[in-house]
C-alpha cells in the first residue's frame, strides 16, 4: 500500500464502484453457472442426475464419466470414447495454426515493408476471405479437396482451415507491422540483412503480442469448427463432430454425466491456450527503438 492516498484525476464514487462490481459479478455468475453445472454433473453417477436437482454437488464423487467419455463411450457405432477424435483434432489444429500464423506474419511483413504495386488490392482480397460465409464454399471446397486427393483426411482439413484462417492472421500482422517503424527495416537493410534475416532477427522477436492474439483466435476457431469437420472429416473427424455423435446417439439411455465430461474435454484445449498464451502477452517490446 502506498503511504499516502494518491489524488487521482477521476473520482469514482463508492456507490458507483460498488454498483459496477455487482453488475460485473452478476455477469460473471451468468457465464460461470453453465460451467458449474457441467462440472458438478460430470462428477456424479447418472442416477443422481435423473433424480433431478442438477445444481447440487455430487453425493458420491466419481471420475467414471470422465473415463468413459475419454476411452469407452459409444461414438457413432464404435465404443472408442473421444480419445481418437481428440488426437485427430490436435493433429489438425496444431499444423493449421502454425502454418496460418507463419504465413500471416510473412504476408503482413511483405504488405507493409516490401510493398509492391497492387499490394492494397491483394490485402483487400485477403480480407475478403474473412467475410465469406462457410456454407458458400462447401461444395467448391469439396471438389478441390477431391481433385487434390485430400478428401476425408486430416491434411484436407488443415488445408481448409489454412485457407480460411490466413485472411485473419494476415489482417492481424499487417496492422501490427504497419505501426512498426520502417526506419528499422531500412537500418537493417543498410546493415546488410536480407528479406528473411530482417524478418527473423528484427521483426519476429517483437511480434509476441500479435502472435498470441493470432494463435488464440485461430486455435479457438479451428478447434471449435464443426461444419468443415463434419463435411470434410471423413474417417478422421475432429472432436466437435465426435462430441455431437456422442450426445446425439439415439440408442440406449442418455448418459448426461458422460456427455458433460465429454463437453468439458472438448473445451479444455482452448481454455489451456487462453491461459498459457495470455501469460506471454507482454507489452512494451518496442521500448527504446525509436524516440517516444
Amino acid at each position: 500500500m502506498a503511504p499516502a492516498q494518491q489524488d487521482t484525476a477521476v473520482h469514482t464514487g463508492r456507490i458507483a464502484r460498488t454498483f459496477i462490481y455487482v453488475v460485473l459479478l452478476v455477469f460473471a455468475l451468468f457465464y460461470l453457472l453453465p460451467f458449474f453445472v457441467m462440472l458438478v454433473n460430470s462428477l456424479k453417477p447418472l442416477s443422481e442426475i435423473t433424480d433431478g436437482n442438477m445444481m447440487a454437488l455430487p453425493r458420491a464423487w466419481t471420475l467414471e464419466p470422465w473415463r468413459q467419455a475419454w476411452s469407452s463411450a459409444q461414438i457413432g457405432v464404435q465404443p472408442t470414447g473421444l480419445k481418437p477424435y481428440f488426437v485427430n483434432s490436435l493433429l489438425m489444429v496444431v499444423p493449421a495454426v502454425a502454418i496460418t500464423t507463419v504465413l500471416g506474419a510473412l504476408n503482413g511483413y511483405v504488405l507493409t515493408k516490401w510493398t509492391f504495386p497492387g499490394h492494397r488490392i491483394i490485402f483487400g482480397l485477403l480480407l475478403f476471405t474473412c467475410f465469406i460465409p462457410f456454407q458458400i464454399v462447401l461444395i467448391p471446397m469439396a471438389t478441390v479437396l477431391g481433385k487434390l486427393g485430400l478428401a476425408g483426411s486430416i491434411p484436407g482439413l488443415i488445408l481448409v482451415h489454412c485457407v480460411y484462417g490466413i485472411g485473419f492472421s494476415t489482417l492481424y500482422y499487417r496492422n501490427y507491422y504497419a505501426a512498426f517503424p520502417t526506419e528499422l527495416v531500412r537500418a537493417a537493410m543498410i546493415d546488410g540483412a536480407g528479406f528473411f534475416r530482417i524478418f527473423f532477427r528484427i521483426m519476429l522477436p517483437v511480434s509476441g503480442p500479435i502472435t498470441v492474439v493470432s494463435v488464440i483466435w485461430l486455435f479457438t476457431n479451428i478447434w471449435n469448427d464443426f461444419l468443415f469437420g463434419a463435411s470434410f472429416g471423413g474417417q478422421s473427424q475432429p472432436m466437435t463432430v465426435a462430441l455431437n455423435n456422442l450426445v446425439q446417439s439415439s440408442t440406449g439411455v442418455k448418459e448426461y454425466n458422460v456427455h458433460f465430461a465429454g463437453a468439458i474435454l472438448a473445451a479444455l484445449p482452448t481454455l489451456v491456450v487462453y491461459i498459457v498464451a495470455g501469460r506471454y502477452f507482454v507489452r512494451g517490446l518496442m521500448a527504446g527503438s525509436v524516440k517516444g
Binding site: P181, E183, L184, R186, A187, A188, M189, I190, D191, G192, A193, R197, R201, I202, P205, V206, G284, L285, M286, A287, G288, S289, V290, K291
Partner: protein, 370 residues
C-alpha cells in the same frame, strides 16, 4: 571528380517532381550539410545516396564507382536515422555489431571494433543494456556507434539531433564536430536547423522546393547568399530585405530608401558595379548585426553610413538589444550592444555597415551584388 558525386540527380514520385537537377560534388573528408525547410527533399536526397530510394535520373557515384541500383549494404555507407532506429530486441552491443555480423566479419574482429567505438563514444558501460533502458542522448550515441563500427566511406545523418532537448542538442553537436575532426570521414548531414548547418559544415547546400538554391562554405552562404530565399533562411534573426532605388550622388551609387516621415534616406553602396542599376528598383539585404549603434560599428569596415531614424520597439536579449524600426515600408531589425542608449519612440543615429549589404534583383530575387 569528387569522393561522392551527385550528378544531375532528379527524383519523381509519379508525376510529382520532388528533386530537380541536383548537382553536388563532395570531397573526401568534407562535412556537407543539406539544409532547408520541411518537405524540400533533404531526406529524399540522403536516402538516394544510401540506396533506400531509387534514382529517377542522373548518377550517384562513391569513390568514382556509380552506385545507382547498388544495394544499400554494398555501398559502404552508414546511416544514422532521425529516430535512431535501434533494434529493440538486441542489446547495445548487438545493435552495434549487427552490421558487421551481416557482412560476415569474424567475431574477434567485431568485438575489437565494438570495444574501440564504445571507448570513443564513452558508452562502454551500456553495452549490455537494451535500447529501452537508455536516455535520449545515450540512444543517440549508440545510433552513431552503430554507424561508426562499420568504418564506412560516407556517413549519412538524417536530422540526428532533432529529437533531443535544446541543451543536449548543443552538446551532441559539439561531439559530432569533434568526431569529424578526429575521424575525417566524409559526412552528409541533413538538418533543418540553420545554426547546426553553420556550425558543423565545411560546405552547405541550401535546398528549397526540390532545388539546391546555393552550395558553398558557411561564410559564402552567409555573406553572399545566392538569392533572397537563402539570405532570409540562414541567420537569426533573419536578414532584413527592403525595397530601395539605386541613385547616383557625387558619381557614387546609393540606395535610396523611402521612410514614412517623407525624407528618403541614402545609403552609399560599397560596390561600384551597382551604378549599372541606376534609377532602378532593387531589394536591399542588410543583416541585423550590420545595423548598430555608432560605438558598436565594425571598425574594419570601409563604409559605415550614418542613418537617423525613429526607434520602434526595443527588445533586450541579454548580450544584445534588438531594435525594430520602419524602413522602406518594412520592419527592420537592428542589433545594438546591450548597453546602447536606445529608447522606444526616440530618434537615433544608427551606423549601417554597407560593406555587408547585399543587393537582389526584385524580379528574379537573385543576388546582383556583391
Amino acid at each position: 571528380m569528387g569522393f561522392l558525386d551527385i550528378r544531375n540527380v532528379t527524383k519523381s514520385y509519379g508525376s510529382v517532381k520532388v528533386l530537380h537537377q541536383v548537382d553536388i560534388e563532395v570531397e573526401e573528408g568534407e562535412f556537407l550539410v543539406l539544409v532547408g525547410p520541411s518537405g524540400c527533399g533533404k531526406s529524399t536526397l540522403l536516402n538516394m545516396i544510401a540506396g533506400l530510394e531509387g534514382i529517377t535520373s542522373g548518377d550517384i557515384a562513391i569513390k568514382g564507382r556509380v552506385v545507382n541500383g547498388v544495394h544499400p549494404s554494398k555501398r559502404n555507407i552508414a546511416m544514422v536515422f532521425q529516430s535512431y532506429a535501434l533494434y529493440p530486441n538486441m542489446t547495445v552491443g548487438q545493435n552495434m555489431t549487427f552490421g558487421l555480423e551481416m557482412h560476415g566479419v569474424p567475431k574477434a574482429e567485431r568485438e575489437k571494433a565494438l570495444a574501440d567505438v564504445a571507448r570513443l563514444l564513452q558508452i562502454e558501460n551500456l553495452l549490455d543494456r537494451k535500447p529501452g533502458q537508455l536516455s535520449g542522448g545515450q540512444r543517440q550515441r549508440v545510433a552513431m556507434g552503430r554507424a561508426l563500427v562499420r568504418d564506412p566511406d560516407v556517413f549519412l545523418f538524417d536530422e540526428p539531433l532533432s529529437n533531443l532537448d535544446a541543451k543536449l542538442r548543443v552538446d551532441m553537436r559539439t561531439e559530432i564536430k569533434k568526431l569529424h575532426e578526429k575521424l575525417k570521414t566524409t559526412i552528409v548531414y541533413v538538418t533543418h536547423d540553420q545554426i547546426e548547418a553553420m556550425t558543423l559544415s565545411t560546405r552547405i547546400a541550401v535546398m528549397y522546393r526540390g532545388y539546391v538554391q546555393q552550395l558553398g562554405t558557411p561564410r559564402e552562404i552567409y555573406d553572399a547568399p545566392a538569392n533572397v530565399y537563402v539570405a532570409t533562411f540562414m541567420g537569426s534573426p533573419a536578414m532584413n530585405v527592403l525595397p530601395a532605388r539605386v541613385t547616383m550622388r557625387d558619381g557614387v551609387p546609393h540606395a535610396e530608401i523611402a521612410v514614412r516621415d517623407g525624407a528618403n534616406r541614402f545609403l552609399k553602396f560599397s560596390q561600384a558595379n551597382m551604378a549599372a542599376w541606376e534609377g532602378r528598383e532593387i531589394l536591399l539585404g542588410i543583416r541585423p548585426e550590420a545595423i548598430t549603434d555608432p560605438d558598436g560599428a565594425d571598425r574594419n569596415s570601409r563604409n559605415i553610413v550614418a542613418l537617423t531614424n525613429r526607434i520602434g520597439v526595443t527588445e533586450p536579449a541579454g548580450a544584445d538589444t534588438y531594435v525594430t524600426m520602419e524602413l522602406g515600408g518594412k520592419d527592420i531589425v537592428a542589433r545594438m550592444r546591450a548597453d546602447a542608449n536606445v529608447a522606444p519612440g526616440a530618434d537615433f543615429e544608427f551606423a549601417v555597415n554597407m560593406d555587408k549589404a547585399v543587393a537582389f534583383d526584385p524580379e528574379t530575387e537573385d543576388r546582383i551584388a556583391p
